[in-house]
Symmetry: D2
């Protein structure tokens, strides 16, 4: 339980460091009979790949995934699916500038405090490359969800102070700019803002938003494995995320109960629906049939070219300038990671929910 | 794994419904040799008890805890500690008004969707009384932490728009008002705001803030069981919490990297410390030795006396007026629950961290 | 994960000591909609109760179970079911004879080595009374299995050298003698053997056998959570069990492959069945549709009245005579514990198996 | 929790099929600072490799392990260690003879019943090659144990009726014969017996015995995660194992309490020791400081060249002759797997035991 395992029913274990041999993940608990090929996974990995634009690092990485096990004749077999992406950019580098100094905003100091040891090659296990395992496993979860009519879509909601406007919101637009913002005008403004920040050797934060549609009511396990609780954990476990909110989130702290409660009514087909969705699709930790909507705040890239104050492993104060190109913003590349983590969480709870009722257990084993 | 278990090393399982026989919790994994008596636990339960002021429900509840196992001669034995609080207020009530109608903002509808079943007696398992198990187990976790010099303190940060002022912040003040606000003036304003809301048959939300001091650097397990990720899950699992942020939280989304990075320096005794604490005491998911600071947004009490629109189990639209007295705000009673959940999370990760280094394993088993 | 939790999908946590306030268990993961009352559980507890015959201790215990939560209107609600049996026989005793000396064959020494602490009151947590929690939770598991047409039956297979004869095997007979032996003649011989052992202040061991019928093929999770592996763990976790075998068990070590392989054929209705059942109903860790048959070896009662050599906590050698009445054999009272542990294991794996196929997941969520 | 994960503190997940791309394992929870190289692992894999003698299959396999992550500068980093052995012998074969027919004694039928799917290439996930992951991870566990002075040694105890004689027992001898029998004469007899069985197109079973020395008293978690219970699960999870016994095992069922109880005394240095070891080093599920001794019964190789009766996937009866060379006995190659599984179990419980006492927690975090 040392932290690289997630999920109980659809369980993943990831491994790999930034500059080791590769990044991998094994998925234990994928049902048999799901059609799966490498392209299903590759298309998600391609969305987190660096080098796509001037706002992402130019490091040339193939990031080609290979399915090592668990698929036979184009379908999952029910046994573990191992996925691997080799690190193609392991060339020997000069780490002498950062080898002994703790980079501010990074995990260098805390890994050392924990393990008495430091893998100084590009952050080791705390590198953003670790998310490859999440996205690869998440792609399988997404495929399962899609086959049940459940869709997960994340996008960049804001970059610094620049927000997607509700009036101009156009989901298709997110595929047309490299910031994955569903608002062409906001994207243009954000790009300018990012260029300015880069010119000042600085970086910026932002917000990712995610919407889950088609999720049936009843998913989430009271009292600790609530859907929102597990989503929060999954999302906060992504490197640079510093906050999570569901539905109106922090807004509810300033709301009145009469505003915040979502009344119930019947829709045209006589089904129970909520009149509003302040709750973000979750009541008492269980999905209510509305869209699940959450947001994550993502801090500015900690690797900046400006001079920073720090100390060395040998306990001496030392100024630090981080060389090399780094993304001025993390959010756009994190969007697909947010989707992956949401999918892993939802599949795990969907599976957990199958034993909620005796009637459902009989539905499986009486037809056995 | 059906949701009522939390933690891996210091593991709890809770049970009980609002109007059943009682609420309980069993703690598996408490080390032997911790002095423990019922008063250690009762003092925390007393802080969440209703009936303390005009802003909390008048229901007369004893909420006396009983230790059923795991303590012998005043010390823990290393075996499970079961704790129980009997429900003394189980008198037969008239639930006819809400028996068949889903209360907006409550889990009535979602429990029914999940289990095909509804315990309409005061919310059943989704009632706020469920937190008794959390607080009771959390009291043991807090005692463990205190013996290691680690302290956890939560308080009400805001009520609606009324915030604790950084200038007037006085922790001692929180014990002098029933809202647990560490700012006398803000507390007075908030009390007036609450009275107005009650007069309008409405309720209000707010924010709880929590500070953990004395936590050594190195706690938290990359990559999924990060300290902030597990805190987020623990806090979001509390009934009405809709958002969580660590350190500058959503503020980091608008910050620049040069502002947000906390530089390192040496303190007077030559130890590595951060110059600022935008990170809230956690880097890469691992504690960095600074104070851990997080906030939770808590929605307004969903039970309000105003007329609300809803539907029945029989799929008919119906207006609803919730009778009886209900707290106009959840935050003050949630403060101690936030502390408990933080403590449970931290103890679990402290225990997990004991096997981080071969040297520590030898420290136990070579002296065995 | 400190050892008092079992199961992942149908999870139990037990607590309580021999001479504390009581013994309890909470069940997390029982589906909603199972009819359940205290009598369903009490009838199993009555089978393990002492004081039933001259071969079981005369301690007068009520062992009445109380359902504390999780049942409403006669059915399970899907939330945790807590069960408690109060210890009615907590009267102050004179433990001075054993307080400081380690009883041979008991866990006195090892608990002290582990926890640096000893609960000398009748064995504390290592007492046989701990099995009350197992049997109570197992009764719920058995009720679930029965509703799916799966039955579990254990009995005493041998007492010392006296074995149940295959020719005289009569399951009904087990209910007619206090040794739960399905062979009247063997039971009579065994009773005589036990009386002789008691006269010599000695105790005897034996074997319990268990048969599971009606289990569909396909239950068990390769590679570590095999049905036989999980059964072995569950059975070996019972206090005095020293060995476990499935099907021909140790006999297979002396068999030839041509004898040991069970051929397949079609039965009268064209279904695949095995021609023999050397495998004991499990192939590759997965149920094959035949009866699952296993045996457990149970050591002689360690509490005997003869003089034994031992040492004290203060590291002095000391002879020991254990006073009071003790069962001369453990097997008959363990029979119902074996059934309970088997049921808990099978339910957990039945639930795990529900996500084996995409088709089954669709069967639940497409009809949602 | 779909079965390919083992352990809670030192956790492994394995993957891979007999004729897929390879077999792998990831280890989550290995402490930082353990010296580790591929040769540490390879030497154990070499012991399970086929092709070593006329009694093991001639399939030419390199089985070279590669460390993919978690090791830097020759030491473990505390992050997951992924290990992979590529399948070099994936050439296209003619499976038409067994593709549609269920081999007796194999998991063909049960996998199909479970997953609705069959990987007919050499058994897929149910192949003996799956144990490569166990042995590779076990090698790391063994290295941890050795650094704490704990040693695990298994050997072949019997082949059919031929047993190692206690008088001739010589541990060094096991390295001199391919059956890993610590008795030269028994090994010669067993080799003759195996040749006869092969000539008759048959196979034989046997028993492996394992001894753990140097284990401190106090390891094992009551009540469900007892050391013997977890060992039983780990050992029964190995493919062909049908029985497990600890200490005198099934012998205790025929013993008297006065014989079976191990008295305590003081050794020359005044330490508590047992006078005998009928218990096999475990009392109440916790190690008692004596050697831990257990045995596993391993069935005859199910793949035999004789004609066998079976049925097809299409539900037709069909006779089957299995072609190709197969080991006539599984035991010798299982010996190292038994050691690996024992080591994984012991390390996991050693780590679990570190939080048994408040004093030990202070020992880590007060020196932090």
């Amino acid at each position: 339980m040392a932290g690289s395992t997630l999920g109980n029913y659809f369980r993943i274990m990831t491994w790999g460091e930034s500059h080791g041999k590769g990044i991998g993940v094994a998925v234990d608990g994928c049902p048999a009979g799901l059609p799966l090929c490498e392209e299903d996974i590759q298309k998600f990995l391609d969305r987190r790949k660096p080098g796509q634009s001037k706002f992402t690092t130019q490091r040339s990485e193939g990031d080609q995934v290979e399915i090592l096990s668990g698929v036979f004749q184009g379908k999952t077999t029910g046994t573990p699916i191992a996925l691997e992406v080799k690190n193609t950019d392991q060339r020997s580098r000069d780490y002498s500038a950062i080898k002994d100094v703790y980079r501010p905003g990074h995990a260098d100091y805390t890994f050392d405090a924990k393990y008495g040891f430091r893998d100084y090659r590009g952050g080791g296990r705390s590198s953003g490359r670790e998310t490859i395992g999440r996205v690869a496993a998440g792609a399988i979860a997404i495929k399962i969800l899609e086959s049940l009519g459940i869709r997960i879509q994340a996008y960049t909601k804001s970059v610094g102070e620049i927000q997607v406007s509700p009036e101009r919101f156009d989901l298709e637009e997110m595929w047309k700019n490299r910031l994955y913002m569903p608002d062409a005008q906001a994207a243009r403004e954000a790009e300018q803002f990012l260029e300015d920040a880069m010119a000042r050797k600085d970086s910026v934060g932002g917000v990712a938003e995610c919407v889950i549609t088609g999720l049936p009511a009843g998913i989430g396990e009271p009292v600790f494995d609530k859907l929102d609780a597990n989503l929060a954990k999954a999302i906060l476990s992504i490197g640079a995320v510093k906050a999570f909110e569901i539905g109106d989130g922090f807004g509810t702290a300033k709301a009145l109960g009469s505003q915040n409660n979502d009344g119930f009514m019947l829709d045209g087909e006589g089904r129970v629906v909520k009149m509003t969705n302040h709750a973000g699709g979750i009541l008492g930790g269980i999905s209510d049939g509305s869209d699940v909507i959450f947001r994550a705040a993502i801090k500015p890239t900690p690797s900046i070219a400006s001079v920073q104050k720090s100390v060395t492993r040998g306990n001496e104060e030392q100024e630090l300038e981080i060389k090399g190109r780094h993304d001025p913003i993390i959010v756009p590349r994190a969007v697909v990671v947010v989707e992956a983590m949401a999918a892993l969480t939802v599949v795990d709870l969907l599976f957990a929910g199958m034993t909620s009722r005796m009637e459902w257990i009989r539905r499986i084993y009486d037809n056995h």
